[in-house]
């Protein structure tokens, strides 16, 4: 059993060792700073390989570990692989920016937050969840503010930190209430029991506690109305960090929410369920409409992230195995689409706000970059045959299949709204390909090779999951 545990959690052990090694080496030998990125990349690739090996030996390694505190199953593996791949892309995108300055801090904190995400996904009780969230969140606060010279970044980091701590505290209160009324913090067998065995008073407390729990988690996943920090933080932090915090942490917490609620939830807790539905609907409607009005692309993507949270919540509300498959697929699509879009913004220049107008004529001057952006935009917009369509389709279908056609309708109609802002960029990029009646957009410095690789990988992921991956993903899960 001990050997099994070592093997089963080897990816995390590798990352922890890498993190510790980087910290020690970085402190003792400053000459190693330029090699931090190599170390991180290597550690991530090894961890990915090990996660694949573990998954290949699922029958002997999957199960509960550490006194039922953590679970290794297909969802954990999914998380490991997705976080690892996204991590590789982020490291590539940060290759030149953080080659020398702040390298130890940047990559060390980054690895630490990735570990936090695995803790969140594999965790089986509220304590693990809280630890995971803090392990994830504390490094990201610092990552946002890591540009010491940029006032905007520091302001964003501070805002993120203060509001994030507030959300954590509220969530902790909710967890305490849950523990008080249930007498357990474990959700190995679903946290929310069948309500028919509960007294009305206890049911009330549970739903009350649920409200606080969702408030805290909703903050992290930028669900309306707990999203208010994200536009400022996204616009203030450095682009590769924003690309990271807008995707991977959200994915981790969504998976955790799915684990916590359990099968009894969708039928037994009407008030809590309506609360979630309200959040989902408002996220979709508000996020998309406000994104439509944005000029700064990163703010636009922040609001689009709010809307996408709404779509993910649909699967959680619907519940059931097919919803889980739909959610997982959508998370993959969202991760690569969003990372890619941010990487394009990164490629266009880090030093100032990139506005929608900066995309004018991009297709003529930088055709490949524009093509990549088009790919991400149409995938996020959910246009077939790109991955985004099948992601949204699976989500909405799970809603219809669980008797929530109106929720699906809201999702579908707000998708149309979202197309408005995604296409605004697309039509700016391609609008003067033939008739040149637009002012020149901004010139772009040479895009570094690692970022190019990251872009190519993200495009590949978007295309492959869309065209070939449907049966693979939806069939296997």
């Amino acid at each position: 059993m001990y050997l099994n545990a070592w093997l089963a959690w080897s990816p995390e052990i590798v990352l922890t060792l890498a993190w510790a090694g980087m910290l020690v080496c970085g402190a003792l030998w400053p000459r190693t700073h330029p090699y931090m990125r190599h170390a991180t990349l290597a550690a991530l690739l090894i961890a990915l390989g090990l996660a694949g090996l573990v998954a290949a030996n699922a029958h002997s390694l999957y199960g509960l570990y550490f006194s039922e505190a953590a679970k290794l199953d297909s969802v954990t593996t999914f998380g490991r692989l997705l976080f690892g791949s996204a991590g590789v892309l982020v490291v590539l995108a940060s290759w030149d920016v953080h080659g020398e300055e702040n390298a130890v801090e940047f990559f060390g904190l980054f690895v630490l937050s990735l570990l936090g995400e695995v803790v969140i996904v594999s965790g089986q009780n509220l304590l693990m969840l809280f630890l995971g969230i803090e392990l994830l969140a504390l490094p990201t606060y610092a990552l946002i503010a890591i540009h010491k010279t940029r006032a905007r970044a520091i302001a964003a980091g501070l805002k993120y930190f203060l509001l994030g701590m507030f959300a954590s505290v509220v969530m902790l209160y909710g967890m305490a209430l849950l523990y008080g009324s249930l007498g357990t913090i474990s959700y190995v067998h679903a946290l929310f029991p069948d309500p028919s065995h509960l007294s009305a008073a206890r049911l009330g407390v549970l739903q009350f506690a649920f409200f606080f729990l969702i408030l805290g988690l909703g903050f992290k996943v930028t669900a309306f109305p707990f999203h208010f920090w994200s536009p400022d933080v996204y616009a203030g932090g450095s682009t590769q960090v924003v690309a990271y915090i807008s995707t991977v942490p959200k994915v981790a917490i969504m998976l955790a929410i799915f684990r916590i609620l359990g099968p009894a939830f969708s039928t037994g807790y009407p008030i809590a369920k309506w609360f979630l539905i309200a959040i989902a609907v408002l996220s979709m409607v508000y996020g998309n409409i406000v994104a439509l009005m944005q000029d700064d692309v990163r703010r636009m993507l922040a609001y689009s992230g709010v809307a996408n949270t709404g779509y993910m919540l649909i699967a959680i509300i619907a519940g059931g195995a097919d919803s889980q498959a739909a959610l997982l697929f959508f998370l993959v699509v969202y991760t690569f689409g969003n990372l890619g879009a941010f990487f394009v913004v990164l490629g266009m220049g880090e030093d100032r706000h990139i506005t929608i107008g900066d995309f004018d004529g991009l297709a003529r001057r930088y055709p490949v970059l524009a093509l990549a952006m088009g790919c991400f935009l149409f995938s996020l917009a959910g246009t077939p045959p790109l991955a985004g369509f099948f992601g949204k389709f699976a989500l909405f279908k799970s809603a219809v299949a669980h008797g929530l056609p109106l929720l699906a309708l809201v999702g579908l109609v707000t998708t149309v709204i979202s197309v408005g802002y995604y296409l605004k960029i697309a039509s700016n990029m391609y609008g003067d390909l033939v008739q040149r009646d637009l002012p020149e957009g901004r010139a772009i410095e040479r895009i570094p090779v690692p970022l190019r690789i990251a872009l190519v990988l993200a495009v590949t992921a978007t295309l492959v999951t869309g065209v070939l991956g449907i049966p693979l993903f939806l069939g296997a899960l």
Binding site: P384, V400, P405, L423, Y430
Partner: protein, 494 residues
């Protein structure tokens, strides 16, 4: 052709040619154009072969390919073709080929253009042969992307506004239609296979309430695409800004997808709801006929006039479909084909006129027939075909849909005669103004070698031949359509 997956090849061919176009070395525009024409010709030849192997008298699907695909979401790989879809597939192949020929003189972004053309063809053909709800929807949506770029890149002054409006407007319809398809799945046989769903519907297993809901959802998607009054407002903007080829395919093929949807999904799966809404649908068709014609009469822009004439002509399609009689459905499919041929021709002609005179303003165009006799005569020919002159093909479809409409709705269908009169009025006014009146001092002047070039004349020849041939002898096409139409009319009981 036996043994070959004919329809998979049909839809894969344009995709492969599209990819091949992208792989050609850049800078060699001529090679791209040659590949474009060769590719679209190959698809056309393959379509003709399929048409030849199609056994005319038999109802039901032919060349069927069914395979499990993604059972988790109820998706199957199901292709097939019958009398409803065959004429439309033929139309899509033909018009794409003609567009490829017409684009011989394209100068900028040739590679992008031909790639988009092939992608568009994948969607257009795919919609008409897909027998699975998800595949149908995917093809339906794939069409939007190349058309968005065609309008957005090669369009006129307001191309960005028009392309985004086109995309969003039609997408609203499509997503609600998607909800309808999901409801068909959920309340139906738990599969997206349209044949299974139709069986389920004809066995009366959808509840009445359910049918009405689903019909409403599907209606919105189809109605925007057709477009049925009052969902037509995207059409004039898109047409006016679109480049010639975009307009031809938009009017020629894309509008047909809506009418086809009614016949392929709504009618067979939801007979009760179809009957329930039949009169309202027919009325909307009649309103469309009269309204489209009346608005066309007031247009100052030649292209906008043709765009509104589409609204009017598609009204006949809607009337025929709503009647659900054999004559009505026969006529509707016939009218879809004819409209594709004739309006496609008109948009080509408008493009040629605009290229020569740099204006589409009816008031400024004068004496085309004296300056460019061939062009003037063909414009007159196309106009007469479009206004439904007997012995040209426009007449056949209009007459049959009217006949079917009269069988089903009585005198209400007769109101559409007003539309026919108005149609004659605006076309004759336009001919008199632009083609036959002598040029004056302030009229627009032809600013380039005026004679039609071969690549312009060539696309017009088959279109004119079809307009004449089907006007005189529509029987071969009706023989293809009729078994399918009879089967559909039998479902409704008319």
């Amino acid at each position: 052709m036996t043994g070959l997956p004919a329809l998979t090849i049909l839809v894969a061919m344009p995709l492969l040619f599209g990819v091949a176009t992208l792989l050609l070395p850049s800078g060699n525009d001529r090679a791209v154009k040659v590949l474009g024409i060769v590719g679209t010709s190959a698809v056309f030849v393959w379509t003709v072969l399929i048409m030849g192997a199609f056994s005319t008298g038999a109802p039901g699907m032919q060349f069927v390919e069914v395979r499990e695909w993604v059972p988790v979401i109820g998706m199957t790989y199901h292709l097939g073709i019958d009398g409803l879809s065959l004429p439309l597939v033929f139309l899509a192949s033909l018009l794409t080929l003609l567009c490829a020929i017409y684009s011989w003189r394209l100068k900028e972004q040739v590679k992008t253009f031909f790639f988009l053309l092939f992608l568009l063809q994948v969607g257009m053909i795919g919609v008409f042969i897909a027998l699975d709800g998800i595949m149908f929807y995917v093809f339906w949506e794939i069409v939007l992307v190349p058309m968005f770029f065609m309008i957005g890149i090669w369009g006129g002054e307001r191309r960005r506004y028009a392309s985004v409006k086109f995309f969003i407007y039609t997408l609203i319809g499509s997503v609600v239609m998607l909800l309808g398809l999901m409801l068909l799945y959920m309340w139906g046989p738990k599969t997206f296979d349209l044949v299974e769903i139709a069986k389920w519907g004809q066995a009366g297993k959808f509840g009445m309430q359910q049918q009405l809901w689903i019909y409403g959802c599907l209606f919105l998607g189809f109605a925007v695409k057709v477009p049925i009054f009052p969902f037509h407002t995207w059409l004039p903007d898109a047409h006016v800004e679109a480049p010639t080829v975009g307009s031809v395919l938009l009017a020629g093929v894309l509008l047909k997808m809506g009418g086809y949807g009614f016949l392929r999904i709504s009618l067979p799966a939801l007979p009760y709801a179809f009957k329930y809404f039949s009169f309202s649908l027919g009325l909307l068709g009649v309103i469309g006929i009269v309204y489209g014609a009346a608005v066309a009469l007031t247009q100052k822009d030649l292209k906008k006039m043709v765009a509104y004439s589409s609204v009017s002509h598609m009204g006949f399609v809607v009337l025929g479909i709503a009647s659900a009689t054999v004559a009505g459905i026969d006529g509707a499919v016939m009218q879809m084909f004819n409209h594709g041929i004739i309006t496609g021709m008109l948009f080509f002609l408008v493009g040629m006129i605009y290229e020569r005179y740099h204006t589409k303003e009816i008031a400024r165009l004068k004496g085309i027939v004296t300056t460019i006799p061939v062009l003037g005569v063909i414009v007159a020919f196309a106009s007469f075909a479009s206004l439904g002159l007997p012995a040209l093909s426009g007449f056949v479809g209009e007459f049959m849909t009217l006949f079917g409409g009269y069988q089903a709705f009585g005198w209400v269908a007769g109101i559409s005669v007003i539309g026919i009169v108005l149609t004659a009025a605006y076309f004759l006014r336009m001919l008199q103004q632009c083609v036959f009146s002598p040029p004056t001092e302030d009229s627009a002047i032809c600013e380039m070698p005026c004679e039609l070039r071969a690549t312009e004349f060539l696309p017009l020849v088959p279109l004119m031949s079809f307009a004449l041939f089907l006007g005189l002898y529509p029987q071969p096409f009706l023989a293809i359509i009729n078994p399918a139409a009879t089967a559909l009319a039998a479902i409704i009981g008319r």
